[in-house]
């Protein structure tokens, strides 16, 4: 269970998050939406402890973030942000192997190796395992990073804009993998995604931010409505339903 209480973040005296309170449901794909600069990624980073908060508390399984041992927490929660360019060259297999660090502290056991193999297979990267990351396309590289997070084998998986700059094929492949993680492996996945139709099609639960506050939250059906979206994005949207899935049209 993840609970966020009164979380505040300030950049140069400018509040980005304003006393956020939220309680996240389990075993769902939870999407954070909102316009640029509303604090989605900031919130995700704070819960994922890569960014320090200025006030409030985050409880992961009833323990405050600051009280977790970093190594223990890494077994429960993983976060993938836009990958920095690394100064070392790594192969896909080496990268995925890093996912086992919280469990093995660098010395890979037989069991770790199995986790690595499973993660690579899950993302269908077997043919790329010995390739270097800088030789891959952006989409393949993103898949490799997701495989690393998968090998980490945590219950909570956070992804910050995982579809950025990806083509449609890789974007849908990634979303399908996330779906499988929730449906088959019972993980809880938190994502920040810009494309509202990806959110509508794949997610179970939506949390919408605007000006550093949560303006709407609820199941996908409750949020993907013209009036709610108008409130979130300040634009008119038409919602069409095809085969029981809702699609948002906002090009007019």
């Amino acid at each position: 269970m993840i609970e966020v209480k009164q979380v505040t973040k300030v950049y140069d005296q400018f509040p980005v998050l304003n006393e956020i309170d939220v309680c996240l449901p389990e075993e769902k794909i939870i999407a954070f939406i909102g316009s640029n600069g509303t604090g989605k990624s900031t919130l995700l980073s704070i819960i994922g402890r890569t960014l320090e908060k200025n006030g409030g508390h985050v409880y992961i399984d009833d323990i405050e973030l600051a009280l977790w041992k970093s190594q223990e927490l890494a077994k429960h929660l993983s976060i993938l942000q836009q990958a920095q360019q690394s100064i070392v060259r790594l192969t896909v297999e080496e990268l995925v192997g890093f996912g086992r660090f919280p469990h093995s502290q660098g010395r890979l056991s037989q069991e770790d190796q199995q986790h690595i193999n499973r993660a690579i297979a899950y993302l269908e990267l077997d043919h790329l395992r010995t390739r270097y990351l800088d030789e891959l396309s952006g989409g393949q590289r993103q898949l490799a990073y997701i495989a690393m997070v998968l090998a980490q084998d945590s219950h909570y998986i956070f992804l910050d804009e995982p579809l950025n700059n990806l083509d449609m094929k890789h974007a849908t492949q990634i979303m399908k993998v996330l779906r499988k993680l929730v449906d088959e492996l019972h993980k809880t996945v938190l994502v920040v995604i810009h494309d509202i139709n990806f959110v509508s099609y794949y997610s179970d639960h939506i949390i919408a931010l605007k000006e550093g506050k949560i303006v709407a939250q609820g199941s996908t059906d409750e949020i993907i409505r013209p009036d709610v979206l108008k409130e979130i994005y300040d634009i008119e949207m038409t919602i069409k339903e095809i085969d029981g899935k809702r699609f948002c049209l906002y090009f007019e």
Binding site: T50, S78, Q84, S86, I87, R89, L90, F98, P102, Q152
Partner: protein, 323 residues
């Protein structure tokens, strides 16, 4: 033969470098030895080799660690002006406390005082730079270089105040150089290297993870801030040791770390640390050999190293791809 085949490519390169280093050591150690003078020569040359190997380890390893924690291939503590800071602190200590013969060479107290100040400075660097989000790395380097020249200026300023007539001679007296290795601090340096090596061995896996970048390493359970702080403190001690023993050699670190990355092509710090130590030992010893035997002291080791290292640095910048 079968044993060699079992080794990885990295281990073979390390072995090869070790052999080269050994050869250079012998080349340096053995000539003109005979029954009557061997004790004197072995003693003199041996101490120098030990000093050089210690320096090589200090500079190489601190540069490697620094690049990993800043996630940038163009930065080393020396480029950031830490050597000039050490020399500034030395001058400052003499200036404040005074010293009758104006010679720092033997004083343990002053050595430890300098190390203390260096660690404080690293602490400041940590709070100024690493605690902040989104640091501009090139601006940081430029700031470091300018700080270096500021400390240089302040040092000569105080030297002039100490002795307006002979301040250039003073500089030679106060600081070690390759022609004037500070032997009296050799023992204490060896001792100080021990805790540093312990930290490195302990942190080697965490450093591997750190090369993925800050957020990935936090994700993987590395206690980022504690690790960075510890590594910075260690670098401060190592730079103090190398500067105290043989004086500043700005571009050695960048040269050997880049070469190591190129040769080994690995993320594993356990292997890179051995290779940088061997490589910088080789470079320093070869340069010393050239200076003493080929140019017969008509130049200095740092001139040779700075030339090779500087050219290599420019080459690296030109090659570095836009992010």
């Amino acid at each position: 033969m079968t044993m060699l085949k079992a080794l990885t490519k990295q281990k073979k390169i390390i072995l090869l470098t070790a052999l080269v280093l050994l050869t250079v050591c012998l080349l340096y150690l053995l000539p003109q030895l005979n029954a009557s003078n061997y004790q004197y020569f072995l003693n003199k040359r041996g101490t120098k080799i030990i000093a050089i190997l210690l320096t090589g380890f200090s500079i190489g390893v601190s540069a490697l660690s620094f690049q990993t924690i800043t996630n940038n291939k163009l930065i080393t503590p020396n480029v950031m002006g830490l050597e000039s800071l050490y020399m500034f602190i030395q001058t400052f200590i003499i200036f404040i406390w005074g010293s009758k013969e104006l010679s720092m060479m033997t004083s343990y107290t002053q050595f430890f005082l300098s190390i203390g100040f260096m660690m404080m400075a690293s602490w400041g660097l940590f709070n100024l730079v690493f605690k902040k989000e989104n640091q501009d790395i090139y601006r940081l380097v430029l700031t470091g270089m300018v700080l270096g020249s500021l400390f240089g200026g302040l040092s000569s300023f105080m030297q002039v105040l100490l002795d307006p007539n002979e301040f250039t001679i003073l500089q030679g007296k106060m600081f070690a150089s390759f022609n004037n290795v500070n032997v009296s601090l050799l023992g204490i340096s060896c001792l100080l290297i021990l805790p540093c090596s312990y930290i490195l061995i302990k942190d080697r896996h965490a450093l591997n993870v750190l090369s993925l970048g800050r957020s990935s390493s936090i994700n993987l359970g590395v206690n980022y801030y504690r690790l960075v702080k510890r590594q910075l403190m260690m670098s401060a001690v190592l730079i103090s040791i190398s500067t105290a023993l043989v004086g500043p050699i700005t571009f050695l670190g960048i040269l050997v770390v880049s070469l190591t990355r190129k040769l080994l092509n690995t993320y594993r710090h356990q292997e890179m640390m051995i290779e940088v130590t061997l490589l910088s030992g080789t470079f320093l010893l070869a340069a010393t050999y050239l200076v003493e035997r080929v140019f017969s002291f008509n130049t200095t080791v740092s001139v040779i190293i700075n030339f090779i290292g500087g050219v290599y640095f420019i080459y690296l910048i030109i090659k570095e791809r836009q992010k």
